[in-house]
C-alpha cells in the first residue's frame, strides 16, 4: 500500500510544483472530510495544495429555518420527532432537540424504516420524520413514504430537507469568489446517481470531477488523478471507486426518488436559495408532507450570531478563521452545525487540530 501512496504523493508534488500556484480542491462529502483528517492526509500534501471542505455534510447544509421548524414541531404534545442522531444537538433560538428532550418526545432512528415503525407503534401520536441528507438517504425516505401510503398509515409524516449535490456544486462555481480548481466527488452519492451525473460540471465549468472511495489511499489516488488532469490542462470525469460506483448509478433508487419526490427550489446554509436543489414530496404524497400537514411555510433564518458555518461550507474560509472556533464554539457546546456533526468541517478541525503542513 505504501508504494501506491508514495507514487501518488510524488505525482502530486511534481504537478503542484509545475503548476506553480495555489491549487484548491473541494471535497463534497462529509465522510471524505473526516477520512482526510483522521488519516493525516493534509500533513503529507504540499503546502500549495488546499483541500476545501464543501457542502457535503447533510446536517451542516441544512438551513437554520428548517432547524427552527423542527424545534417548533418538537413543542407539540401530539408529535413524536424521529431523527437521525446527528441532528439532535444542532442549536436554534437557544434550544436544540437534545435540550428540548425533557419535555418533547424526540427519538433517534438509524433508518427511515425505524421512523415508520414508531408510527405503527404509537397510533395516538403523529410521527414527524426529520428527513435530511443527499441522494444517498433520499431513496430510503421515499421507500417508507410508499409503504406508509400502501398501509394508509395516517399518523406518519415527513419533513423533507433532502438535497441534491450537483445543483449545489453548480451554485458554488457560479459564485464570483469561488477558488475551486477541481472536485473530489462524493462516493456514496455517486452509488445512487452514478458518476455520470457530474459530467455537466466538467462540461459546463471545465473542472475535473473525480469520484473516490474513503480509504486514505483511495483519496490520495483520487487527488493524484486530479493533478494528472490539471497539469495537462484537462478536465475529465473519472470514477476511482469501481467497487460500488457505476456510470448510471442505482436505477431502483432513482426510480423511487422520482416516484415520491420532485426537485424544488430550496434554501441551503451558506449558499442561500438554489434552483431545483431540494426534494419535495409530490402531490400524490401530500398527506405525508409535514410542511403541508402543519401548514409551515419554508423561510430562511439567520445563522446564530457570529457563526460562519455558511462561509466554511462554501470553502471561503477555514474553520479556525471563525472567531467563535474553539472559543465559544466547541463540540461540547456547539454554536453552528459544522461543529455539531461528526462529519462537519469545524468538528474535524477541532478534533484533529491544525496539522503541521509541509513548506509550500
Amino acid at each position: 500500500m505504501l508504494d501506491r501512496i508514495n507514487k501518488a504523493q510524488k505525482l502530486i508534488d511534481a504537478a503542484c510544483e509545475a503548476l506553480g500556484r495555489q491549487i484548491n480542491i473541494m471535497e463534497v462529502c462529509g465522510t471524505h472530510t473526516v477520512s482526510i483528517f483522521r488519516n493525516g492526509i493534509r500533513s503529507i500534501l504540499p503546502g500549495s495544495l488546499k483541500l476545501l471542505s464543501g457542502p457535503g455534510c447533510p446536517v451542516c447544509v441544512t438551513d437554520q429555518g428548517y432547524i427552527d421548524t423542527i424545534l417548533e414541531l418538537a413543542d407539540r404534545r401530539d408529535c413524536i420527532i424521529a431523527t437521525y442522531g446527528d441532528m439532535i444537538r444542532v442549536p436554534g433560538k437557544g434550544w436544540s432537540l437534545e435540550t428540548k428532550r425533557a419535555k418533547a418526545d424526540v427519538r433517534i432512528v438509524l433508518s427511515s424504516e425505524d421512523a415508520l415503525q414508531l408510527a405503527r407503534d404509537n397510533p395516538g401520536k403523529t410521527v414527524v420524520f426529520i428527513a435530511v441528507g443527499f441522494e444517498t438517504t433520499a431513496p430510503a425516505t421515499a421507500v417508507v413514504a410508499e409503504e406508509a401510503a400502501a398501509e394508509s398509515i395516517g399518523n406518519f409524516c415527513i419533513l423533507s430537507g433532502h438535497k441534491l449535490v450537483v445543483p449545489a456544486m453548480r451554485a458554488l462555481l457560479a459564485g464570483k469568489n469561488n477558488k475551486i480548481d477541481a472536485f473530489l466527488c462524493p462516493g456514496h452519492v455517486s452509488v445512487i446517481i452514478g458518476y455520470g451525473a457530474f459530467g455537466e460540471i466538467v462540461e459546463d465549468f471545465g473542472r475535473p470531477c473525480v469520484v473516490a472511495g474513503f480509504e486514505a489511499v483511495q483519496i490520495i489516488e483520487g487527488l493524484a488523478e486530479i493533478f494528472r488532469q490539471l497539469s495537462s490542462g484537462r478536465a475529465e470525469l473519472k470514477s476511482m471507486y469501481p467497487a460500488v460506483v457505476t456510470e448510471k448509478g442505482n436505477a431502483a433508487a432513482q426510480r423511487v426518488i422520482d416516484e415520491c419526490f420532485e426537485p424544488a427550489d430550496g434554501y441551503w446554509r451558506g449558499l442561500g436559495q438554489i434552483e431545483k436543489s431540494t426534494l419535495k414530496l409530490k402531490d400524490e404524497y401530500a398527506r405525508f408532507d409535514a410542511f403541508k400537514r402543519f401548514d409551515i411555510t419554508e423561510a430562511p433564518a439567520e445563522e446564530e450570531r457570529g457563526c460562519r458555518c455558511g462561509q466554511v461550507l462554501c470553502g471561503l474560509i477555514e474553520p479556525p478563521e471563525c472567531a467563535l472556533f474553539g472559543q465559544t464554539c466547541t463540540p461540547q457546546d456547539p454554536v453552528g452545525p459544522c461543529m455539531v456533526s461528526s462529519e462537519g468541517a469545524c468538528a474535524a478541525w477541532f478534533k484533529y487540530g491544525r496539522e503541521p503542513r509541509r513548506k509550500p
Binding site: M1, S111, S112, E113, T137, P139, A140, N250, A252
Partner: protein, 69 residues
Amino acid sequence: MEADRAVVDAMGNRWKAKTTLLPEAKLGDLVLVHAGFAISLVDEEEARKTWQLLAEISEFEQTPNKVSG
C-alpha cells in the same frame, strides 16, 4: 433473506437491512448498506483489496515502530 429484508454481517456484527433499493441482491452477496438500506452490490475483488489494505494498516499500527519521547 425474506421479502424485502435481509440479515447483513459486517465483520461479525449482524443486523437487518432493507433490500428494496437492491432487488437483485441474492443470499451471500456483498452489499454496501447506508442508513439501513442496501444500496449497492460490492465488487468482491475490489472489496478484497480494501480489506487487505485495512489489514496492512492494522498490522503496521501494531508493530513497535512508533517514535516515542
